[in-house]
Symmetry: C2
């Protein structure tokens, strides 16, 4: 894939959609594309981690260790991002992410993440928005679970 095709692809990712063309070229140029085969782990719960990933294609399972073994709690699709909690909170990986379909990702290191946020505030807004949505969604599930218990 050439640089222009890569830029077109990045433009479709919501957290990058408001970033201007010239800056997206820089992002395409400096970020790393990493592919994972079905069943391969992108990261493992409990491991240290300082990279986040944006899914450019394919799907992945979000797996959590429980007393009864590993369970799938969610599925991540194209344009989803993950790994930001380890970057932001300096904690080990909070879940295992495993490719369910052949997975194409954009790998963003911690350093690059902070540079991107400083340079592209709109990206920070989109990440905050997604975190706020996830938080609200999880809160609703928690209320339902507490009520059911």
């Amino acid at each position: 894939m050439n640089l222009n095709e890569e830029v077109e692809l990045l433009k479709l990712v919501p957290i990058f959609s408001k970033i201007e063309q010239a800056k997206l070229k820089l992002l395409a140029f400096t970020s790393e594309r990493v592919n994972f085969a079905v069943g391969q782990e992108v990261c493992h719960q409990g491991d240290p981690g300082n990279t986040m990933y944006v899914i450019l294609g394919g799907t992945a399972d979000v797996l959590i260790d429980t007393a009864g073994g590993q369970i799938a709690v969610a599925e991540m699709k194209k344009n989803s991002f993950f790994g930001e909690i380890a970057i932001l909170c300096d904690v080990p990986r909070t879940a295992t992410i495993k490719a369910k379909e052949p997975l194409s990702t954009l790998k963003i290191t911690k350093d690059m993440f902070y540079r991107l946020v400083a340079e592209f505030p709109q990206m920070a807004v989109e990440i905050m928005r997604e975190l706020a949505h996830r938080l609200e969604d999880t809160n609703q599930k928690l209320r339902a679970a507490t009520k059911a218990a």
Copy 2:
């Protein structure tokens, strides 16, 4: 309180702590201080809202409507912020916030929020960090509740 005292106070709030002195003056100058008496509501669940609040002093209850009536799910203290979900996700207030002790807040409008994030990326990072912490905390509670059910 004069402007310099206000700046000193804002400096102690984590989401503003990395913002330089001169810019904090601007923030102190352009933001609004709003106080609430014990029992007074800052916002009401279900209402539209486009302001966030940072608690500068006092405590507040976070109340949620349930089939069995309103219940307190959390307490917010000095330096906590709330109301950002309504701003980021364009949804009605997800909870009622009521002063438990005399409450002093900094009121930040939606417009100002986006200007602040663009101008002070470090504030965006601190808000993302807090949202990520809350998300991880809620996820852990959800797992515990699901396990107990």
